[in-house]
Symmetry: C2
Subunit: 329 residues, 2 copies
């Protein structure tokens, strides 16, 4: 099967295009009627860098690539609209494999109300996905940048941290059952799922934007590094109380089995795709109602101060210096 | 230098953002105010598949990747707006190399009024670029799909064909100076440029859309294959008179030196990035005024008939069966 036939098979499996898409796949470009403001993000996923085919099903790889792109839209408080995929196919991935991957992507697209509106398919030396996701909002001021955190704001985070890192340790062979009272296997299954099938916090992102978030970012590189982006763009200092970090269930046991510090994992490891948000003190209660939007907690983890940089203070006063993700990859 | 510093160095070299971009690079997503209809296309470029680093400067690779994406916008008759790049960087490409590549891309962006509004940078096993280009038009009906060709329409093409293929033959070692009266070297330099630095026909595309084009496509895969897409989407037959094809200057000599048929090259080889357009007979004269828009000719090469498929008739009546590009890559 050639490129054109494979694309045709892909497109015919996709759900109905969203209301903004007036001309879908199969032309030179997709035509949309965006309305107000759009948020556009691009995200590359490369085998051996962002995922490993031996750990993930192809459907999970497709899911995760789209999830990471949608997570950027969540961090803007945008409503997801359209996604586009460039798929680079190595010689050892056949057509059925491509379709399995795209089915995984399409399932998340359908679950989030995203239209897969176009794509490109090419040979490549390794499996790679370059995702483009476009989100919508009535006006630019409805979207939340990284630049608006102000001294006095509360700093909060959605959900739990360190789960994706714990899942990675499990995939790498950590054995938490060597730890006394490690509990049952289901928690560890959930941690692997966090790593392999992350869920973008789209409803939470929109709820936080409406509640008055002043700055927001998704935790793809890790709290330390991502908080650093907010601090730099907002021109403020972010002070985090490490004891307040909401740790993923089972993280402590996995960390112990792997000889790692759970707080360090929660503060510096990537791919949790939770949202870090700043907002005025008087808006925090309203924002915590995000739990009703997506069933996840909003946890206060610190505050915004005048100054620069990020400070993560451990119980006892020692400062944690989380490893940065400041490298290619 | 890490990813963040390199991206910062890139963004600071970019020209001022266009009027639709309200939040540029460095946040979770770029924020734009599109206005009417948008046309969005994604296009992957992989070393060894779409280009060879030994033939192209890095600036040319950056240029060509963006040019190919913008060519899809030209084929819609859209005004280019924003572009986004996922850059996959192999270990043997250093930061200065990345900047040279992005400078080449930025130069074409500036020349075409395109804002490079975002990007992602990652390690990859080979140099790869995944481009997203977004174009604009007042309304969806101002954009030209592949689906509107009607029996009785004239079929026409912009510029010259076969130039990129001749350039590729030259890069592969064809020596046209072995052919008597091959003329001077400058023509062959121009053919190499066609291959390495294609120019998207943006002004021509908009002029043809305004002149009443019923269907349009850019010739990236070759006339035979691309005409096939128009025929399939429009539900018509496209009849091409091969003798009418506008051959690139120097193509005949290069083809002879390489033992190839120039008409076959013009009809089936890709990457000319000219526009194939159908339009009602009475609109052809107005459309030919595209020459004033971009200094390139519009040449009548055939017509649209009831039926299906593409017919390319050689002088003497024999039918040319151009090799398709119906494969990955």
């Amino acid at each position: 099967m050639g490129e054109f036939e494979l694309l045709a098979r892909v497109w015919e499996r996709l759900p109905q295009a969203g209301p903004r898409v007036t001309l879908g796949s199969g032309d030179d470009a997709a035509v949309t009627l965006p309305g107000g403001a759009t948020a556009t993000t691009v995200d590359a996923f490369v085998d051996g860098v962002h995922f490993r085919r031996e750990w993930s099903s192809l459907a999970q790889i497709g899911h995760k690539a789209l999830a990471a792109a949608l997570s950027d839209l969540a961090a803007m408080g945008a409503q997801p609209g359209e996604a586009y995929v460039c798929l680079g196919v190595p010689t050892d991935l056949d057509e059925d494999g491509c379709l399995e991957l795209l089915d995984g992507m399409a399932a998340l697209a359908a679950a989030t109300g995203t239209t897969l509106a176009g794509g490109d398919l090419t040979r490549a030396p390794a499996l790679l996905l370059a995702m483009t996701a476009v989100g919508h909002a009535p006006a630019p001021e409805d979207l939340v940048s990284r630049a608006g955190a102000r001294p006095g704001d509360v700093l909060a985070v959605t959900g739990e941290l360190g789960g994706a890192a714990a899942g990675l340790l499990l995939l790498e062979g950590a054995n938490p059952h060597s730890v006394p009272d490690s509990g049952n296997e289901r928690r560890f299954e959930a941690l692997r799922d966090r790593q392999l099938e992350p869920r973008p916090r789209l409803a939470a992102g929109r709820a936080l934007a409406e509640a008055g978030a002043t700055a927001m970012i998704d935790l793809s590189d890790g709290l330390g590094g991502d908080a650093g982006h907010v601090a730099a763009r907002s021109g403020v200092r972010l002070a985090v109380d490490a004891a307040a970090l909401p740790l993923a269930a089972g993280l402590a046991e996995v960390a112990q089995a792997a000889g790692r510090d759970p707080l360090e994992l929660a503060a510096s490891s990537g791919e949790d795709y939770e949202l870090l948000v700043s907002l005025p003190e008087e808006r925090f209660t309203a924002a915590a109602a995000v739990k009703e939007a997506e069933g996840i907690e909003l946890t206060r983890i610190g505050g915004v101060q005048a100054g620069s940089g990020v400070e993560i203070r451990l119980p006892g006063g020692r400062l944690l210096r989380p490893a940065g993700y400041d490298q290619l990859g």
